[in-house]
Point group: C2
Chain length 251, copies 2
Amino acid sequence: MNTRAKKTNHQTPCTLCPVRQLGIFQRLPEAQVIKVQQYRSGQCVLPAKTLIYRQGEVHNHLYTLFTGWVMLYKTLSNGSRQILRYVLAGDFLSFQPDARVPMTHSAQTLTETTLCVFPRQNLMQLFNEHPEVAAQITLITARDITLSYEYLVNIGRKNARERLAFLFLEIYHRILPQLPETGTTIVFPLTQEDIADTVGLTLVHVNRTLRSLREEGLVQLSHHKLTILDYPRLVCLAGFNLQSVMNQPLL
Amino acid sequence: MNTRAKKTNHQTPCTLCPVRQLGIFQRLPEAQVIKVQQYRSGQCVLPAKTLIYRQGEVHNHLYTLFTGWVMLYKTLSNGSRQILRYVLAGDFLSFQPDARVPMTHSAQTLTETTLCVFPRQNLMQLFNEHPEVAAQITLITARDITLSYEYLVNIGRKNARERLAFLFLEIYHRILPQLPETGTTIVFPLTQEDIADTVGLTLVHVNRTLRSLREEGLVQLSHHKLTILDYPRLVCLAGFNLQSVMNQPLL
DNA sequence: ATTTGACATTAACCTAGGTTAATTTCTATG
DNA sequence: CATAGAAATTAACCTAGGTTAATGTCAAAT
């Protein structure tokens, strides 16, 4: 990991984890969570814009995101970048199939971020001793696939306005459960270039499209605050389906 | 499932499974595989163009693909289609996180296909009794994510020629281990419209691009046979990385 | 041997989004 | 509060890929 990473002094015990409901352990009874905590090697805090790991390098940790925003992306030989996913509190990070294989993407913080660190070596042991955790991880991974399929449709078969509408709704709905009170405005740390590299457009065209969405009273994005102005029309425009985006079954 | 599905009479025992090395059970010892087989409810054979399950419907089976080609896709309200992935022998099918939630995509056979069927109810039990299987499933799912990320880059950040080059190489490499002898020609059951719906282009432009690739002596595609004519240049054009595509660690 | 429908091919034309480049805010830092 | 670098905005122009539509080819079915 990068330079300025520091371990926190007061570490949150897993039993008190505020994001537990979102993450790996949501269905585990208290007693089990305490055991799982033994496998955790620590929490660490990273400033914004920190590289967590780089595409092409072997990386030996797994993380759960505790607070903050992280983006996963790939860089092409021609210099362009494709952002794959935004990792939010409770999500998984760097879960690659084989520890010996170098990472196929990079991860970088967008905001200050707290991570819970699990060394990769312990993973098999954890699976053997706690099959419920293994099952839970399987489910989370399956949801990640569902989301990336949604992204494929977004980039492959929608126009610029639809792509942005989808991205905004997706992030809005994933952030909402973490906020103290529900509102139509959220903090939104992406730059217009980040947005462009997420939805397969150019920065200039994202700017044009944002203007068009703003002028039609659908969303307002400025100074890293996103406001959903007309939720129903936005959902319709985006072809948005909550099920495909949330990390939870809807009860 | 659809009408004409039929159960095979002589079912392959899991211990003799020719695709075992590719699938869930690659790292499981013989004895364990025999136990896993108890959870399998059968094998079935489907003709080409059969719908296995449909987006929006609850579906209660999991499958391993034994032989044949299956495509996963989503249909948009405007009628367009995005193909998400081609499922080949040894791959997983319909692994969705929650059994109560309707499928978020559809699956259809491209060729005659043999599936191994596992009822979803048994899944948790299987996980509890055989955590190694859970771990293995997690790894396969993680690889599926890696592949879908590769697709995102392909659609989001490459031009038409690069997209086709990538698709051809990806499928070529995934099919190759299954063929009796290695050659540069493979059977390729996709239509040009399928290709278009996979890489986010139109059928007409796929045709133009195919001509351009053919005229430059890179690939030859006709009558559902694909020939890789200039592998090195194709790899370079596609920005192709084997690691991100294969379901196996490279030894 | 002929029909039919699915698939492939091509051409002519058009537009959504890309490119380039200049200008204007922000925002962090001393 | 001055300044520099990052981010946003806009305009002018251009092209990769989309659209429409006509025609050709192939393979299955009668």
